[in-house]
């Protein structure tokens, strides 16, 4: 096949990839978009295999088959709750792939040392960072921020030595430097993600996603391949924008997230001294009674919903309130609820909650004032009014769901413990708040049971 065909097909693939992302503008076009993405990928792969630069097929098809079977098997087998770590894992493998390509380029004596080093560096950080993110999300290691003295200094030194090694390698072309560079980059990726704790995971996953895109750009430059550059740039832009959205939703800078430490120490914010505060506890039967007499209920799910697998029973709750008691039920989702961007949306979609019933922060906030009940389940920091009132709180300035404006607020929680940010939530002690202690799923099941008994 001649090179004009190859270029034309790459162009077609680019268009298909852009359309595939474009399809995600709405749930109606999203699946078609995903299929266009698959077509784009299939044509890119086939035309590359049959292009003049490739002289052998059997091994290539074999390798694709092996990877394809492994990938598909995991993707079909994974539980929907394990999605964040699944995405982290795939992302890491993509990064590692860039590392191997860069290494192959270098040992074959390629002169594109700058581009290959960039591909190697970013790919290696994406790989090892994803490994740590995976381990934290999968529960293989503590999801808490891991901090040790001198950590930031160490990372700084490693970062500088990576930069210095890059320069030396590019100037000298000594392959041993390249391997050291690879090693230190992997180490740097590990160390960068270690100090980042659970609730900052949406940011980390987005950043790593961006890295795998920028790594592809580096490889694209090193191989002079326009397709890789275009697609890498789009993926890089996507990850970067998601990171921006996530950090903005927490009112934090990307640097402060990446430097980590958030939630490692419990913050003694300007809390009014040691006076004893009491929270009102209620039982599911009371909650059921109040909800069935309400005209509007807003459900606010957080990560705890995912942990307790409470999404299905939440759907039942909404359905019962609507059909048996004619209550207007809405779901409110904070952008950083959960462990990856859009986590709660996927969770509720899995339970079959129609997406028209789900509202984003800015759409729903004004509605809390007219709501009779806010049912907060497994969420804490994203509702904490200190974010608006206490300039000393670490979460100050973070946009929150203003649940306190509802007539009655139910918090389903195991205890009064602070949330991830280590800030006490004054809402627990508010007059209109009733705490429902216990497992998110069990408590909601009991409410549903009471509602259905009548």
């Amino acid at each position: 096949m001649n090179t004009a065909y190859v270029s034309a097909t790459y162009l077609l693939s680019c268009v298909l990839f852009i359309l595939s992302i474009r399809g995600l503008a709405s749930p109606e076009t999203a699946r078609r978009g995903n299929i266009l993405g698959m077509l784009g990928m299939a044509s890119a792969i086939l035309v590359t295999i049959y292009s003049p630069v490739v002289g052998e097929y059997a091994w290539l098809f074999g390798a694709i088959a092996v990877g394809g079977i492994i990938g598909t098997w995991f993707a079909l087998k994974v539980k929907m709750t394990a999605l964040p770590q699944m995405i982290a894992a795939f992302n890491g493998l993509g990064g590692l792939s860039s590392v191997f390509i860069a290494a192959a380029e270098i040992i074959s004596g390629s002169q594109t040392r700058l581009e290959s080093s960039l591909g190697l560096l970013i790919g290696a950080v994406a790989f090892s960072g994803s490994v740590v993110a995976f381990a934290k999300l999968q529960g293989l290691m503590s999801p808490k921020a891991i901090i040790f003295p001198g950590q930031q200094l160490l990372n700084l030194i490693l970062g500088l030595s990576v930069a210095a090694l890059c320069v030396f390698f590019i100037l000298s072309g000594r392959n041993d430097l390249f391997y050291i560079l690879a090693g230190i980059s992997v180490l740097l990726g590990f160390l960068l993600v270690l100090p980042i704790g659970g609730a900052d995971m949406p940011v980390v996953i987005s950043v790593l996603n961006a890295y795998s895109g920028w790594a592809a750009v580096g490889i694209g430059f090193s191989l002079n391949n326009v397709l890789l550059i275009i697609v890498g740039a789009i993926v890089g832009a996507s990850g970067t924008i998601l990171s921006y959205i996530m950090t903005k939703a927490m009112n934090r800078s990307l640097t402060s997230v990446m430097l980590g430490g958030f939630g490692a120490e419990t913050h003694q914010s300007a809390k009014g001294g040691g006076e004893e505060k009491t929270a009102k506890a209620g039982n599911p039967q009371d909650a059921a009674f109040i909800m069935e007499n309400a005209s509007k209920v807003i459900i606010v799910p957080g990560y705890g919903t995912a942990v307790a697998q409470a999404q299905h029973v939440l759907k039942e709750l909404a359905g019962d309130l609507r059909s048996l008691y004619d209550v207007d039920v809405k779901f409110a989702i904070h952008p950083v609820a959960g462990r990856m961007p859009g986590h709660m949306n996927v969770l509720l979609a899995e339970a079959g909650v129609p997406y028209e019933d789900i509202y984003a922060l800015e759409e729903i906030n004004r509605e809390f004032a007219s709501a009779d009940v806010a049912y907060v389940i497994g969420a804490n920091d994203i509702t904490n009014p200190l974010a608006r009132t206490d300039p000393n709180a670490p979460i100050y300035g973070m946009p929150i769901l203003e649940v306190e404006k509802a007539k009655t607020v139910f918090f389903v929680k195991r205890s009064l413990a602070s949330g991830y940010a280590g800030v006490e939530n004054p809402l627990f002690f508010a007059d209109n708040t009733i705490m429902l202690y216990g497992d998110a799923k069990k408590v909601t099941e009991e409410i549903v049971g009471t509602l259905e008994r009548k």
Binding site: L24, F74, A75, F90, F100, I234
Partner: protein, 101 residues
């Protein structure tokens, strides 16, 4: 080569703009699928891997390339399959005023 690098940089910058506008158009409800789709799409480095692994004779170079092909295919197939599963859940459903049990 110098002319080439400017052409590639031009393409890169323009592609960043395309990415910027397309990604801002994605509805926040689909941010998880966006990550997994873009993740699968970033597996396009497989093209580089195939070129690297496509040499007729066996060598370290080719072996590294083949490993890269396997890794990138896991990323691609896994990413698209997971996205498809996720997106299947976002099908439009009639709000069910479901029957009493």
């Amino acid at each position: 080569m110098t002319a080439d690098i400017w052409m590639l940089l031009t393409i890169l910058v323009l592609a960043c703009f395309v990415g910027y506008f397309v990604v801002w158009g994605v509805t926040p409800a689909l941010h998880s699928p966006l990550m997994s789709v873009s993740n699968a799409v970033s597996g396009v480095v497989i093209v580089g891997a195939l070129i690297t692994a496509g040499t007729p004779e066996m060598s370290t170079h080719k072996i590294l390339g083949l490993i890269a092909v396997v890794l990138a295919s896991i990323n691609i197939f896994g990413g698209f399959a997971v996205s498809q599963r996720m997106l299947a859940m976002f099908k439009k459903k009639k709000r069910s005023h479901e029957e009493k049990k």
